[in-house]
Structure formats: structure tokens, C-alpha cells
Subunit: 688 residues, 2 copies
């Protein structure tokens, strides 16, 4: 019996190319490009994520995992430069984008750590920073930053998640005592799903309907505001009087986080615990706010949540990278079924395997480039350099477009990679199942993906309406022309367009950047224009009929947003291609971007046909051009995942360690030795 | 502070219909129909699955879960009629189909239990039954049936999963001692992923290359055969001499099963431990077999594996039912965001939510009806009534088509349901995440789904070649005609067909059963014919070029198989619709079947357009007709999931218990009381 050798942690050798004239990826340069504007910070954060003390250990009992992650959090605070987003005078660096870039890398260590950090610093401490004022910063931020006070972000209730404005918790001001009375009026108003609530949190930022009366005035509900509320006695861990809660218990993933429920029975908090940047109550009960409109005030307060969406977008892209680095490395070594040659065929040489993995790789590149742009926009706004209402709105729309795309993409990628690795992919040691379990909730928390896409869709409709109103000739003309085209029966449209010699329909143009852009852009514009036309009667209908009309187009609204997100991703990828300086790298990235673009066109091919954007003959070439791109990209697949820059300390998957290739070498050596020694048994079919 | 009441376990009241003339589902009758030919056995098995002792408990440490499931297995054997597949004279009932129907229901208790039962009785004991002969049945089956001997099915190796014929383990006959020498020559030949191998198994059926020499003859490898091999000392749990192994450790799910690895160092087993139904070795080393062809012999032996695929198909459909029963019930109660009326909108009233859940419901019905037909075919073959080579081949092809479809469908359904339930869906208590984790490996074990679809694709090509060769006028004419159509440019084809007045292209015909059948059938036939034409040159090419040609069409091969599976599902659903006796039920099922059919057409709409099967105008109506079907089906959604017949003891999800509706009633009552008492605060926007 031979024994197993230690797995090799080196990478497999590069795939030999068939000719020397073929382009080659400059892996180191591409890694730099992908690490982006915060490359140094990301490298430092990856070094931390590579330390065994920060790794997820599977299986681990929930209680132990929770303790481990809390300990890791405090280690991060003490030693690892995770407080960059906070003010310089409190030990931070006022570096919002850089701070997020670091957190996104923590997903490689343990997504529970990434999300617990998000709860503590991105939500709890950030609410103090962004919704509070100077006295809150001075008094409350230091302990929140150091995790002396682990805190919950108590916004969501059992009864209201996406619709935050309808939460039931109330905070009524009592001018007699100068306190707010925080109260949970019914079970559906329990705060729920809150990290740090089940166990570790000794304080929370609690969102509640602020009710107060100016002297002699009526009791007025000023809408949702945030309050800093101590929860537990830090010494005993017991709830303070009037506060109760429940553990959310075991979850589908992220079990290093103690999610739980909270409820309040007439809990009194001092007036100055209202985080009063956007709304304040004077001692006599008079309410004041720098933002007159309650609606705009609410959305401004919620706007600080965008940070979470930005960092989930980056973390999801990173999880996709890790999954693909594992699955592609394995697929480049694992062999199954005899081929035409003497050896068995490497999985990645199977066309179907390429079809499963390479388009996901392309979209992961798109997500990475797009995220860098989102992060830059985020830093622009949060640094104050570009903090305008328009800047904030653009940031929120972009985050609402990208977070759903990248988180759903991560789940698809993790699942496909796990399946592509077969039974080995199902073992926890190979990471893919655990990452899927942890990332699962990314698609519904911090803004449910479907709800976010609807926000994007509404923004697109609003922009379209503005363009119509402004009468901007170009945009409107384009919308109108497009609608005219698609309303014509396909046959005539195709003929008409062929007659005017439209370049998009001539052969071989699908690889053309301008053609891809045109196809993706057209689709969004037409979808939005159609939707706007369909919804136009709503403004003249009674409320219930208007609601029914809008609802009858909800699916289209979501699909328009998805189309927009896809275009945004493609544009970012294209800018990434242009930014590559090495010619070989640029060529390979161009193929990869084409694969991404054509995969999108293939996915929506029916739309392009129905709307006369592609002829049947042209449409038929989309899939075959994708097949050709797969063949071109296949020799570069390993380089493209190596360029993500993850080491074995991040992948930590035995199937990506080289052990598979080593086992095959050993098996081959055995059969060779048998042959040489004449010990081979004759196959039965050769005997007969 | 109000306290939480106990969750109500009753079902929500039925959705009121808008008119009394609308059809209504007869839920009880539909439940009977869905339970099918083995309704009584399924009801009994569900009663067992509803017992708390058999339920999965989350979280539970792996070691404890493994012990629990082993104990459950023995309880099943002792008290719960799970041995029906075995011979009557050994206490079974020779009832193969009925036996599987019971096992499929165990997924409601704990998928680990279902799969551990599959390992013990479906693989280990079944191998003794189907590959062994009378002496094995008498000596070995009783202890395997009673689980006195927990056993592993040691086929897969670390280096070879799907390609079983290339396993490395050898069993060489030694005529000196009358023993086989079982040996693992290298690390890649370790048996791997085997249930019962890590801990509980005291024996295994081990698959190995059988090598023997007739007197004076050469050593011949007769290919893969199965051997009964004791593994551990039952008293101590220690491996027997020469045997070693490893625990596969924690997995993405199914952690109640002790999967592990085994290796053998010249382990000697008596000659009569070869399971010798399909191949035997005489004392002098002479090999004999009732099947002359080594290839056919191998596939005959592997044919017994079809049982596992059949039962996974049924279990996956059941998991989808449970998921939809939970998510639809919740979506029928949960409200979010204000609508036009006074109350918030029920999730299932949102078009997008209907779009997410109802097509999955339709496919689950299709999977259920198709599974009943598969089970009947399985029983036909395994009972011996229809055990012909053709019958076996048809059974294997049908199982290879349906198992991938239903297991992938289950994962999609579980994931969509989990997301549709938001944060609540991520809590383990609501079951969806745990079921997804457990079902995950169903798509790659017992035949990797992608590999199975390739088998189906090859069978389709073979059938097509036979039809061509036989010159059967009808079939070939159809293939040829179809190819002729699609190779004509779309414009002319559409015109031609319009000219001859093809019914498929006239308005309102998509709901027509014959039209749907034609669309789905055409597609398979054309895809197969195209593929056959593309692959035809392979027979005249050198091996490497032929392999490259075949590989360049692997994606199409898989997609052709998928199209075939979709058609099979649709046909089974249609037969199910016709079998419904209550008119209201039949009407609702017809809509649901139409939704399934049109969802398939929508998914492949580009194909229908490119191939001239649908005009652009007609294609445009597909989505809008789906939208109309959603509106029609929405009031029946609860009935359609209630008809699955699961009780709270099977769903065990607090969100499907009625608790959500109760919380809302309480909240409404609170606000009403506030209003009545004049305690309502004035919204700020009403003040200004």
C-alpha cells in the first residue's frame, strides 16, 4: 500500500499554448490591476485573512464559533488597521473607500467575521458616526470602535424588513423627565435577525417611530429615527430592565454571528441618546430637522446603509474568485474518462466544463471591475468630495444595481463550482459548500435583491420621464425610434434594417465592442421606454387600478433593472480591458469581455430576435462564437484565476493544492512499472 | 408588552375567489391522485416521517447525528416495513416499486436518513440481492436487512467516480488458497465518499478489477466485479487486518451519514464472496459468465444502480413540495409595503412573487407525475414482469433523464423559496436551508447529472440512427422535413408556414395542448437531427479529430437531453391532467400544465424564433400569456400546495404555521384600538 504524500501547495504548471505567437497573460500585472486603487490595503488585509487564527474552522459548534469570531473582531480592532473609516481625531483615517476595501477581503478568512465586522463597524458604529453628532462621536464611538461595546443595529422587525418606514417600535418623548420611552407594541414589532443581539451586544442603535409634541401641540409621529440604547449589563450579560429578546438560533450559514431578537417594554433613554444629525427634539418636546420633508429625511438617514451594500458587492466578487480559483485549478488537473490519446481527459478540456466555468469567470471579472468603480464613487461621496444629492442618488442606484448582480452571481458560481468538483466539492474541506451557505443570505439582507432591482427600475423610469420632459432631442428620439422598430413585425424590421446596411447585422460583428455596447444599451432603453408607455395610464386611474397596472408590470420592471446592471457591468469590464497595459493581457481580457457580452446576448437572444435587433441567421452565430471564445480562453483559464492573487492560505482547499495531479502521477507510475515488469493482466476483450 | 401566542398549526383559510363560477380544486381528490399507485404505502411512510424520533434536529454535532441516524435506521428495519424490496422468504415482499415509494417519503424526516437507508438497503443489501446468488442471499442478506451488519457500497474511488470501469482496486484470484486478494495499488484507488465507511460499516460490497488465470492461461482482467468483504470487528469497531480508511469529515449536508474512505492491502477473501450472478471463478481459476461481452456484462451489473436514481428522483420531487408548501403558505400570509387599499399587500399578490414561485410549483407537479411513471416502469422491470434488455434500457434512459431534472429543480426550488421568505427563510427552523444543504449532493451522486444527460443524449442519437437505418418513413421524414425548415432563412420559413395556415402560428393557440406538444417535440427532434448531422463526419476521422468533433458538440448533446427530459415531464403532466376526474381540479391543473409548457417555451424562445417555429409576434405573446396564467392560478396556489398532503409534522416551519397571520392580526388590532381610543399620533406630513 502506498501512502499519501503531503499535498503540494504549488500551482500546476501553465498550460502549454499551441503556438508561441499566442498572447499570454502577465499574471502579476493583472493581479495589480484587479487589486485596484486600494491594492496595498487589500494586500495587507489578505495577509490578515491568511492567518490561521482568523480562519473559519468546520465543523465548529455554534457557541464556540460565535466566541471565536468575537475574539477575532477584537483582535482586528486592536492590531489590524480596521478603523480607517472613522475620524482621524479618534484614531481612524477618514478613509471610507480604503476601509471597505479591507473588509471585503475578510470574506477569505470567514464570512462570519466579515459580516460581524459589518454589524459592529459598518452598521452600529457607522450609525453613531453618520446619524449622530459630535457628542455621540466623542462619548460613544471609541468603545464601539474598539469593540468594548459590541452593538446591534436594531432596524428590521419580524413584521417589517424591506419596508423600514412601517416599523412598529415607538420612541415617545416625555418632556417631564427629558427621556424617550422606547416601546414594542406587539410581537410583529420585535427587532429581528440582528447580529450581536442574541448574545454579545451590550448596546444597540434602535430605530423607532419618534413621537413628540411641541408645547401645546398635538402628538406628532416624525417617522423613523435612531436611538443609542444600552442592552445588557456588560458584567453579567443580563438584559437591562424592560429589555428582552430571543436567539434566532441556528441559521443556513454565518453561524459565527449571534443573530437575535429584541423587544422593549417602556424603556427610558435620555434625550441626548437620540442620534440627532437629521432630527432633534428640544427639552420642551419641539421637533426640528435640517431636512424639511419627512420623506427625504427618512431616505437620507437610510442612505448611510449604502455602505453595507457596497461592501457586500465587493465581498461577493471575492467569494466568486475564490470558488473559481478552486474549481478551475481542480478542473485543470482532474481527469475522467479516456480520450483519444493515451491519457484520460482533463475536465477543463471538456466543452461542457468550459461552458459551465468560463462564463462565470468572465462575469467575475466584470463584477470586479464594476466594484472598483462603485468603491470609487462611494469614497467620493462619503469623503465629502462629491457629497451632493445627485452624487448620493447615483451611488445608491449603482449599489442597488450591483449588489444584487454580484451576490446572485456568487451563489450561482459557488454552486456551479461545487457541482463541477463532484463529490469532492461537497466536502467541507474544499470550502465551496461553506461559502455558499455563508453567502446565501447576502442576496436578501442589506436590501433584498428583488427590492433593490425595483429601486433601480424606478430610477430608470424617473430618468426616462425627465428626458422626455426636458425634451432632450437625442435621448427621446432614440427611445421613439427604437420603439418604432420593435413594434414593426420582425420581418419588415429586419429587411428595413438590412436595407440600410446596419453594421450590427453583417457577419463577424458580434465581437465588435461597439456592437456589443449597442445591443446591451438598446435593450435597456427599449425596455424602459416600453415600461413607461405601459405605465403611463396609471396616473389617470383610481389608486387600486393604478396599483394593479403597476403590479402587472413588476416582472418587467425587475428585468429592466437587471438589463441595466448587465450593461453597467459590461461597461466597467470594457474600461478594465482598456486599462490593461500589457498587450497579451489585453487580448485575453478582450476575449473574456467578449465572452461576457455574448453570454448576455445569448441569455436574452429571444428579446433581440423579437425586437428585430438580430436576424435569425445572426442569432445562430452567437452560440458558435461563444464556443470559439471558450476554445481561445481555455489555455488562459489558470492564469486568469491565478491573477486573483489568492494563495493556498486563502483557498485552503485540498483539491486545489496539486494533490490531485500528484495522485495521478503516482497511478500512472504504477501502471508504467507494471507494464515494464510484464505484470499487466490482459484485458478480457483482448483475449477473445 | 404582548406575549407571543402559540403558533397556530391550522392552514390559512382559502383565498376567496372573485366569482362563484370559477373552478375550485378538490384538494383531497388531488392529494390521492398525487400520492399515486402506492398511496397507502406513502401514507404509512409519511406517518413514520412525521414522528419526532425520526426528525432531523438542527444543529446537532456530527457524531451525535450519525448515531441518531443509525439508530433510526435500525428502528425502521425492526418496526416500519422498509424491507419490501427483499425476497418474501427472507421477510420481504418482493415489492420493488412500493419499497422505493416509502423511502422517498423519508426525505420529510431527514434526508440523511433517506440516504443512509439508500446506502444500506438500496446499495449494500441490493448488491447482495442483485449481484449475488442464492447462497449470498441466505447467508448475507438477513444481517444486511436488519442492519446487524451496516454496510458500505465501495465502488467510487478518489480517482474515479463517473468512470467506474477505470477503477484501480484489484481482486486477483489465488488458486493455491481459493481466495481473492483485494488490493489498493495507489492513493487514487482508495474507495471514497462511501456512506457507512467512516464509522458504522462492518462489511462492504467492494468493486474491483477481477483478475484470474485459467489453468495454463494468461492472467486476464475480466473487469469490475463485486465482492463481499468484512471491514471491521463488530465488537471493537476496529478495522480488520489489511484494511484502513479515513473519515471524509464534515460535508455540505447529510452529516448524519458517515462517509469515508477505504483501502486494502492484499486482503484475502474466500472465493465464494465474489457476488457471482454475472461472473464466476471456478476453484482452478477459470472464469465464466452468462454474459459473453465484457461491456454488456459491466453495464448489466451497473444497471442495478438505477434504483438509486429512481428514488432520488422521487425524493427530490418531495423536497420541492415541502419547500413550496412552506413558501407559498408564508407568501399567502406575509404582507409588506402598503398597497392601494388600507392594508399591506400579501407577498403572493405581487406579480414578481408569483413569477418566482408558481412556475416552480408547475414543474413540481410535472416532476411528481413523471416520477410515478418512472416508478411504474421500475417496478415492471425489477419485478421481472417486464425485465427485457429493452425494458432495462428504457428504464435507465428515463431515470437518467428525470433524476437530473428533478434534483436540479429541487435545488432551484429550495433556493428560490428560501429567498422568497427573506431572512426568515435563512433560519434553520424554517427548514429550507437545511433541505438545500442536504439535497445539494443529489445532483452529483448516483450518477452526476451532467454525465447522465450525456447518456440520454447518446441514446437519443442512437435511436435517431436506428430510425434512419430502418428507413421508417414517418420518423425520418419528420426529421428531414424539420431540418429543411430550420435551414431555410427564418423569413421564408415563417411565410411558407403561414401560407399553409399552420395552426401553431395563429393567435391564441399557445394554450392548446397539441401546440405545446408539437413545440416541445419538434425541438428535441430537430436538436437530435442537427447533432447527428454534425457528428456524422466523426466516423471517418482519426480518433483524436473525431474526439475533438464530438467534444465541440458536447454542450448541444447535453441540451438535447434536457429538451427531451422537459418533453417527458410535460407529457407526464398532461397525462396527469387527463387522469383528474373532478372538473374544477382538471381546469386548474390544465392552467398549471400550460404554465409549465409555456415556461419551457419562454425559456427556449430564441430557439423557436431562430428555427422558425414561432413568429416574433407570436413569441411576444408567450410572456403575456404566462402573466395571465399567473393571475388565474394565484387564487389556487394554496390549494395546490395543500394537495401535496403534508401536515405540520412534515413542514415543521414556524413561518408556515399561521404565526405570521396571527402576528399581523395582533398588530392590526393594536392600531385599531389606538385609533378608537384617540391615541394615534399624527403623521408629520399631515401636520405640515
Amino acid at each position: 500500500m502506498t501512502t499519501t504524500a503531503e499535498p503540494r501547495h504549488d500551482r500546476p504548471s501553465r498550460t502549454p499554448l499551441t503556438t508561441t505567437a499566442e498572447p499570454r497573460v502577465d499574471v502579476a500585472a493583472l493581479t495589480d490591476q484587479l487589486l485596484g486603487q486600494y491594492a496595498d490595503l487589500r494586500r495587507e488585509a489578505r495577509a490578515v485573512a491568511g492567518l490561521p487564527d482568523f480562519h473559519k474552522v468546520e465543523p465548529m459548534p455554534m457557541a464556540e464559533h460565535r466566541d471565536r469570531v468575537l475574539h477575532q473582531l477584537r483582535e482586528l480592532a486592536a492590531h489590524h488597521d480596521v478603523l480607517r473609516a472613522f475620524p482621524a481625531h479618534l484614531g481612524g483615517a477618514d478613509d471610507h473607500g480604503g476601509s471597505l476595501s479591507r473588509f471585503e477581503e475578510l470574506v477569505a478568512a470567514d464570512p462570519s467575521l466579515q459580516i460581524k465586522a459589518g454589524v459592529q463597524w459598518g452598521l452600529f458604529a457607522s450609525a453613531i458616526l453618520h446619524l449622530g453628532t459630535q457628542r455621540h462621536h466623542e462619548e460613544l464611538l471609541p468603545a464601539a470602535m474598539s469593540v468594548d461595546v459590541p452593538g446591534a443595529f436594531a432596524m428590521t422587525e419580524t413584521g417589517h424588513g424591506s419596508d423600514v418606514s412601517s416599523i412598529g417600535t415607538t420612541a415617545e418623548y416625555d418632556p417631564e423627565t427629558g427621556e424617550f420611552v422606547l416601546h414594542t407594541p406587539f410581537r410583529a414589532a420585535w427587532k429581528d435577525y440582528l447580529g450581536n443581539a442574541a448574545q454579545h451586544g451590550t448596546a444597540a442603535v434602535v430605530f423607532a417611530q419618534l413621537i413628540t409634541a411641541a408645547p401645546g401641540g398635538p402628538r406628532v409621529n416624525h417617522g423613523v429615527h435612531a436611538f443609542y440604547v444600552p442592552l445588557r449589563d456588560p458584567a453579567t450579560g443580563e438584559f437591562l430592565p424592560g429589555i428582552g429578546g430571543e436567539d434566532d438560533g441556528f441559521k443556513g450559514g454565518l453561524n459565527g454571528i449571534d443573530n437575535g431578537r429584541l423587544h422593549f417594554d417602556h424603556v427610558r433613554v435620555p434625550r441626548d441618546r437620540l442620534l440627532n444629525r437629521y432630527g432633534d427634539v428640544a427639552a420642551d418636546g419641539t421637533y426640528s430637522s435640517p431636512i424639511a420633508s419627512p420623506g427625504r429625511r427618512f431616505f437620507t438617514m437610510l442612505g448611510t446603509l449604502v455602505q453595507g451594500r457596497v461592501s457586500l458587492d465587493g465581498a461577493a466578487a471575492n467569494a466568486s474568485k475564490i470558488a473559481l480559483a478552486i474549481a478551475v485549478t481542480y478542473a485543470n488537473q482532474r481527469r475522467q474518462f479516456a480520450g483519444a490519446g493515451a491519457d484520460e481527459v482533463v475536465l477543463l478540456d471538456y466543452q461542457r466544463h468550459q461552458r459551465r466555468l468560463l462564463p462565470l469567470l468572465a462575469e467575475t471579472y466584470a463584477a470586479t471591475f464594476a466594484h472598483e468603480e462603485l468603491l470609487a464613487m462611494f469614497d467620493e461621496v462619503f469623503s465629502g468630495r462629491g457629497d451632493t444629492p445627485e452624487g448620493r442618488e447615483d451611488l445608491e442606484t449603482l449599489a442597488a444595481a450591483l449588489k444584487p448582480s454580484s451576490t446572485w452571481h456568487a451563489l450561482r458560481t459557488l454552486q456551479e463550482c461545487r457541482e463541477a468538483c463532484g463529490g469532492a466539492g461537497f466536502l467541507a474541506e474544499n470550502r465551496l459548500v461553506g461559502l455558499h451557505q455563508d453567502l446565501d443570505v447576502y442576496v436578501t439582507f442589506e436590501g433584498d435583491n428583488t427590492v433593490l432591482y425595483q429601486l433601480v427600475g424606478k430610477r430608470l423610469l424617473g430618468d426616462y420621464a425627465k428626458a422626455l420632459k426636458a425634451g432632450g432631442a437625442g435621448d427621446v428620439a432614440r427611445f421613439v425610434a427604437d420603439r418604432a422598430v420593435h413594434r414593426t413585425p420582425l420581418i419588415r424590421a429586419a429587411q428595413t434594417l438590412a436595407d440600410v446596411g446596419d453594421a450590427r447585422r453583417s457577419a463577424g460583428q458580434l465581437r465588435d465592442e461597439a456592437t456589443q455596447r449597442e445591443l446591451l444599451t438598446d435593450r435597456v432603453e427599449v425596455m424602459v421606454a416600453e415600461l413607461a408607455a405601459a405605465l403611463r395610464p396609471a396616473s389617470k386611474l383610481p389608486a387600486d387600478q393604478a396599483a394593479a397596472l403597476v403590479n402587472a408590470h413588476q416582472h418587467e420592471l425587475v428585468e429592466a433593472a437587471r438589463a441595466h446592471a448587465e450593461r453597467v457591468l459590461w461597461e466597467a469590464f470594457t474600461r478594465g480591458v482598456h486599462a490593461a497595459t500589457d498587450p497579451g493581457t489585453q487580448q485575453v481580457l478582450t476575449w473574456l469581455r467578449d465572452l461576457f457580452g455574448l453570454t448576455l446576448v445569448e441569455r436574452h437572444l429571444a428579446w433581440y430576435l423579437v425586437n428585430g435587433r438580430l436576424s435569425a441567421g445572426r442569432a445562430r452565430t452567437v452560440s458558435s462564437y461563444i464556443d470559439r471564445l471558450l476554445v481561445r480562453l481555455r489555455p488562459h483559464a489558470q492564469d486568469l484565476v491565478d491573477a486573483f492573487g489568492y494563495g493556498p492560505e486563502h483557498l485552503r482547499a485540498p483539491i486545489a493544492s496539486g494533490a490531485e495531479a500528484q495522485r495521478q502521477d503516482e497511478a500512472r507510475a504504477h501502471y508504467r512499472a507494471e507494464r515494464v515488469a510484464g505484470r499487466e493482466a490482459v484485458p478480457e476483450k483482448h483475449v477473445r
